[in-house]
Symmetry: C2
Subunit: 146 residues, 2 copies
Amino acid sequence: MALATKKIPSAKLRSAAFKRVRADHSAELAGDYVEMIADLIDERGEARCTDIALRLGVANATVVKTLKRLQAAELITQEPYRAIFLTVEGWKMAEDGRRKHAIVEKFLLALGVSQETARIDSEGIEHHVSTETLRAMGKFLARNGG
Amino acid sequence: MALATKKIPSAKLRSAAFKRVRADHSAELAGDYVEMIADLIDERGEARCTDIALRLGVANATVVKTLKRLQAAELITQEPYRAIFLTVEGWKMAEDGRRKHAIVEKFLLALGVSQETARIDSEGIEHHVSTETLRAMGKFLARNGG
DNA sequence: CCTAAAGTTTAGCATAGGCTAAGTTATATG
DNA sequence: CATATAACTTAGCCTATGCTAAACTTTAGG
């Protein structure tokens, strides 16, 4: 199996990686939203449009539009002018994101980067680490007092 | 300075991370293209639309459209129906990308993930690692026989 | 040198994810 | 309890990134 891996992967193999990245990107926004909604619910009992917009650094209208997509994807539920709730599926995704995020951030800290950088970089990286890489990071943490 | 870092960063600080991620994303595609063009030029002397499309796993027309943006950004030069060339700026970006990519991929391998996973994950991660994290990965490699 | 195949471009469409401006609903306060 | 303010929504715009189908160039073979 390992022997079959060529030094220069075929175009098909290459393109698979880029396709994964593109797929990651479309899932990414949804992940950020549900994670943030979960945080807001935990921190202050409810998630409101304005808080999400503020934390993400985007306009209110952008949040509204995105929330519609999330509702269509059955990750959240909402009534007009009311707070936002996560569906079971939404909570699952949020928990998963938090888990990943925590591991990546702790890993970066253990690797020796500053708190600030760990926080910022983990936000971007978390959506692109496979289960295998995440496990490797976990092992590294176990070895290095994570 | 470090003392000023609160445990729960303010919304403003949080939003900065997401803004960075969004900025990364717009730069990402350009990076992938110039890196691939550089590879094609090195491997076979010239970069053609079709090869880029094949390797990225997108339609030909998509590549054409993107190349127009890259030309507007002065990263490439091209004449109709001719091969694609990189500008000085384009080469700089490509080299930078390759350097990052190589470090991240080697780092993942050193961390213990499979070749296949390292290749795929590094493609997504490379655009989200700051200079500081990259340096930390470099140090790790130096310590662990990279 | 003519023509068929391969490669490139254009046109037109869709969706995602941004924005501002204007309208609507809830809520807090005098 | 009336209304000002804050929060939310709608409408309409833009760019990026994908697609297919059709048109145009280049190039290779006969």
